[in-house]
């Protein structure tokens, strides 16, 4: 990993991007803006599953409304994040917190894909019973996103 990180650091693309002053703040700004869209979508979806917000709208409709938005935001986060890794590989690839963050994101994505997406099928049908564990999934998902943000901010300090 160390040698890969060194090689990445020395590539022409990494060097050019690193030496252009506005690139890193620009990419980080895009990363935070996309993060805000993700957090807004996750908040409404997860609190709906937890039974706190928008309880008059059926779960399937709420998940459907935010599902593609969550993945679009994740795509922008992945692209801007990958460029930031490319620019400063040493800060991330050898950092336990970075990999913890990746693990948390994968878990949240898995929860969204495996447990929330199937509920879209019941869109518009408020009478359709939902799994009893879904409240827990909502709280857990929200917690995981918050933990991932904490890890993300701490990468700069470790």
């Amino acid at each position: 990993m160390q040698s890969f990180s060194d090689w990445l650091y020395a590539t022409a693309l990494s060097t050019t991007l690193r030496e252009t002053s506005w690139v890193v703040p620009g990419l980080q700004s895009i990363h935070i803006l996309a993060l805000a869209f993700l957090v807004g979508s996750a908040l409404v979806t997860d609190l709906r599953l937890a039974g706190v917000l928008a309880t008059d709208v059926d779960q399937g409709s709420v998940i459907k409304a935010y599902f593609s938005r969550i993945f679009n935001a994740l795509l922008v986060l992945l692209l801007s994040g990958s460029l930031l890794v490319l620019i400063e590989p040493g800060r991330t690839l050898g950092n336990t917190l970075f990999w913890t963050k990746m693990g948390l994101i994968l878990t949240a994505v898995a929860l969204t894909w495996l447990l929330k997406r199937p509920l879209i099928a019941s869109e518009g049908d408020a009478a359709r019973p939902v799994p009893p564990y879904i409240k827990l999934v909502g709280w857990l998902s929200l917690l995981i996103w918050i933990a991932a943000i904490f890890c993300g901010r701490w990468i700069a300090y470790t």
Binding site: P25, S29, A36, G40, A54, G152
Partner: protein
């Protein structure tokens, strides 16, 4: 007392000193600030998109605003407290920082935009709430809000590149 002396007194406050002395308080406050600001902009953006005619989980803009506003204000309060504490740790230099000043002006403008919306077109919301596309004044308020809050975030991130923590 001149304005610089006020910022110096903020800098000298015991909790500002505690943040400077600690290796973990600043990043903890920053993490809380990031979570708070993404909640602020994330919830505002859902309302702004509805004002632009893009519907997410419910069609009534009035219900959507009533439903999300408490979360926006709660997160905003958290952002102000965490941001205020971060500011205190290096108050004099932050106050002189152009990006920080721009960020404060932009937050003020976003507030004025919100006030203008709530005191004009929002008062007639019953007339247009059922329409998919709100009137031009509401669309303008939504677009301005997204633009202003995005600029706030960009300036905020930029502050960190012009000024290292204390």
């Amino acid at each position: 007392m001149n304005i610089e002396a006020i910022f110096q007194r903020i800098y000298d406050l015991p909790f500002a000193d505690a943040i400077r002395q600690s290796s973990s308080l600043f990043p903890i406050l920053e993490s809380i600030h990031v979570i708070a600001l993404t909640l602020v902009f994330g919830t505002i953006a859902i309302v702004d998109l509805r004002l632009l005619g893009i519907r997410l989980h419910r069609s009534s803009a009035k219900s959507l605003i009533a439903e999300l506003l408490p979360y926006t204000w709660g997160a905003f309060a958290l952002a102000v407290v965490s941001g205020g504490l971060l500011f205190s740790s290096n108050a004099v230099l932050y106050a002189q920082n152009a990006q920080f000043q721009a960020k404060m002006v932009l937050i003020l403008l976003a507030g004025i935009n919100m006030l203008a919306f709530h005191s004009t077109v929002f008062r007639r919301i019953a007339d247009w709430d059922a329409q998919g596309t709100p009137p031009a004044a509401a669309r303008l308020a939504g677009l301005s809000s997204i633009a202003l809050w995005s600029a706030v975030i960009v300036c905020g991130r930029w502050v960190g590149f012009t000024l290292s923590p204390f």
